[in-house]
Symmetry: C2
């Protein structure tokens, strides 16, 4: 039961659920892109991704300085269908999807620059 329970625990967090659903239609996402979508500290995102990876829901691929995550294949089919059916109409998920289009339209470099600027901005407060 342990593995099944780990999957349930991995999904029992709103941010992690958003990531999984995002990956269901996006093939792969870089950590910095996920960070942008969730609006969390990189350290926090990294921690979430580790939990998802330990639950064997995602896998990662390094490319230079970037780490890209994707769903681990084979992804449990019933789980996939459940999330798909349950969250298709969710406002938050749709908003994530819309924002991801924006995020993906610029390359990771620009994205990370944008994040750095935001950080500076926060410090000025």
């Amino acid at each position: 039961m342990e593995h099944t329970l780990n999957i349930a625990k991995a999904l029992a967090d709103g941010n992690r659920m958003r990531v999984i659903v995002a990956l269901m239609s996006r093939d792969e996402l870089c950590v910095c892109q996920i960070t942008e979508m969730l609006q969390l500290a990189p350290a926090t995102v990294s921690r979430h991704m580790t939990i998802l990876q330990n639950a064997r829901l995602v896998q990662n691929r390094k490319e230079g300085r970037w780490v890209f995550y994707r769903l681990l294949k084979p992804f449990p089919e019933p789980l996939y269908q459940w999330l798909q059916a349950s969250l298709a109409g969710s406002r938050e998920i749709q908003e994530d999807s819309r924002q991801l289009q924006e995020i993906l339209s610029c390359n990771p470099d620009d994205l990370c620059r944008r994040q750095k600027n935001r950080k500076k901005c926060h410090h000025s407060h």
Copy 2:
């Protein structure tokens, strides 16, 4: 997303997952029977069942002093299939199933008497 997340949270606990799986093959179970299976305090079991009910995974029916819980229909089909497939071979679940046969073989009265005896036994330590 809130409802979907509530379901994931409801399943993200070993004891609650055991209850759901037990109800997948047992139609309905009394609180005292679930208490016997999980070996937890009645108050704790009641709390778990409330969480499952708020997630709309179970419903209850009162009969005299007893409260029987069953899966709420319609139970999300993909979720049902996922649990079925993932936990069919689980040692713990099989052990629960075996023990439930025992529990169900005596009527609730005897069961609760047994629980009371165990409680007295604990006090004597």
